[in-house]
Symmetry: C2
Subunit: 384 residues, 2 copies
């Protein structure tokens, strides 16, 4: 660590959203200098970053030029211009996670093939080049059942995913290369964040259970620890560790897993970065996911992932029907509830279901945290 | 809270040291805009503050002009120009804590009289106008025993305090108005931080025990919870609450207390702000002292002060013999110990015993935290 704090070391983060902001909050505890690449000076991380470079994460020149300015480059989003980070790596720059991992994870088709090649449990799938090829497969009787379609690239927060229940209705089928998978008969969705440093040290976070708001196609509550069996918990941790090791991962890897109605675990997808399902760790775990990402990225010893208190996390999202300069309601009432923590990301404009902040609700028992989180959910309104 | 986050509300903080920095780290979670007054642009809080105003906290114009720029003015140091904050208050500006409280606490003589007037336990004392008057009192036989002398104003971190053991040696006696008090036969030193908002809601933090490094005259370890009896704990909390209520305090009040060899509590002194003895709360308590100060200053409901894990805090101070651009050693080894958190304030220059950062050591048992804190203390070196 001395080499980072005793020098003019610069950490580069692509991009400056809420994950970048929370990463810089942790980095500031060690007095690290953080540079951010984002399209907007007033992005959430903008107020805290030492410097904001304006540019698009999908643009070769923006990413390449930014990477040249910093000592280690890391990410809050995996959909970065891959040629630029490969070129930076070729020139000897430190890119964490490795561009090869980013490239694999960017493409949900390659991700699924990776699980298949390593005999890791995931739902059966086929790859298609286009919407037309999927329609052909339906017409030829190759696809006979309702399915989930996922764009191979660029999906995020529920975008790039279509659930096709009626095979005769082609309207909802997405354009472009995609994968088609069987609808898993889901009992629960869980997530495990695993951290790994260059020396191969691995630490797993307690398993989190995610409940979904079917309307918004967004996480409703994140419950930690997950209400699953000890055996399922162990299996999830083994899976996450195995993926991180097979990828030779450095940094954080968030692994989203389905538990099907038979109690079997199936890998959904992974993200090579701090993750929405780890926000609660800021207050509920000895080492937050953001501090852990820094430790892993800087190849420092990883920190304890011991749970301090059970917690529930809810995203604070824009209420439907409002688009414009954001206004919050109900925050004060929430703060009157013991164990309620509020994080506002500083986004200026609200949109329906846009992630504007989050609240972590701590309590001595998970039951109490769940009860209080329901109150918080009903109290907070994000309008314009 | 909505009135702060839905507007262009500005929080003003005098000054931008480590307490200011950690206050802004909390404020950024609510996306509050923080302005800082400090003599140096590159003060610890400088990297995070929305704006740094250059000026001296003892200077009337600097404080007055800064106060005019912000919506609520608060402090990390109580020795602020009192005329300026009184004038701001007279003009209707929000100053928290109240200038009258700052004025009382700035003057250790007035503080002692306050305890005396309210029958609060504190060691007997006399006030003296000058060093000469003290020497007169020694010569005339009015002072007959070894004593502790404290400058009435400006003392901080062990400065402005003299322990006079040899009444014939006048060299160590401080100049200027001071108070002379009997040396308390100290068994332990403890501290309680109490928070109070405008509505009179009060929350006390768990009592902390401070052990001192006799060489540096600085805190060595801060141990939470304090290893004292339940009765002493209750007494300390009652005392702290009483002082906060008598002062009609808004904000945080840190109360330092001696436990004498007979087990009796005696108030040492108070500070109306976040305090060194509360740094551990960032990781070990549900609501950190910094979040609590924000809640109290903004007149929001106060948060839970429940302890999540036992903790020990040690200051990371400049090693004696080094003055110059700072270099840290041993940090990485510390991070390898479970539950060790490192905070570096970002001061560029180290000096002997200068507070450069702190480490909080969390563990399931206080014994383990104490063992690990001893390792951390021996590992970290701050040199130049």
């Amino acid at each position: 660590m001395e080499k980072f704090v005793n020098s003019d070391f610069k950490l580069g983060i692509i991009t400056g959203g809420q994950l970048g902001k929370m990463l810089i909050q942790e980095a500031s505890k060690w007095d690290l200098t953080s540079y951010v690449l984002d399209t907007a000076e007033d992005c959430p991380a903008g107020k805290l970053a030492s410097k904001v470079f304006i540019g698009d994460y999908k643009d070769y020149d923006a990413v390449y030029n930014f990477g040249k300015q910093v000592d280690i480059l890391t990410f809050e989003i995996e959909h970065v211009n891959i040629q630029a980070v490969k070129q930076l790596k070729a020139e000897g720059h430190k890119i964490i996670p490795d561009p090869d991992i980013l490239e694999l994870i960017q493409d949900k088709g390659l991700q699924k093939e990776f699980y298949q090649n390593h005999n890791l449990p995931t739902s059966p799938f086929q790859l298609y080049e286009s919407k037309e090829k999927i329609i052909e497969a339906i017409d030829s009787g190759k696809i006979t059942q309702a399915f989930v379609q996922k764009s191979r690239k660029g999906g995020y927060d529920g975008r790039g995913v279509a659930v096709i229940s009626d095979l005769n209705n082609h309207e909802e089928i997405l354009n472009g290369p995609s994968l088609v998978e069987e609808k898993v008969d889901i009992d629960k969705e869980i997530a495990v964040i695993v951290a790994r440093n260059q020396q191969g040290q691995v630490k797993c976070y307690p398993v989190v259970e995610m409940t979904f708001d079917p309307k918004a196609n967004l996480v409703d509550k994140l419950i930690c620890p997950a209400q699953i069996s000890q055996e399922q918990t162990n299996q999830a941790i083994v899976l996450a560790t195995k993926i991180a090791e097979l990828l030779d991962m450095q940094g954080l890897l968030a692994v989203e897993i389905f538990v099907d109605k038979k109690g079997q675990l199936q890998i959904n997808e992974v993200a090579p970065r701090p993750h929405n399902s780890g926000h609660h760790t800021i207050e509920s775990v000895v080492t937050s996911q953001f501090e852990q990402h820094l430790r892993a990225v800087l190849n420092l010893p990883l920190g304890s992932t011991e749970l301090k208190l059970p917690s529930v996390m809810i995203n604070i999202v824009g209420n439907p029907g409002y688009t414009g300069p954001v206004k919050y309601q109900g925050l004060e009432e929430c703060l009157a509830i013991d164990g309620v923590k509020i994080h506002l990301y500083g986004k200026k404009i609200t949109k329906p279901y846009r992630k504007m902040g989050h609240s972590t609700i701590l309590a001595k028992s998970l039951e109490q945290a769940l009860t209080n989180s329901e109150k918080v959910k009903n109290l907070i309104k994000v309008i314009s």
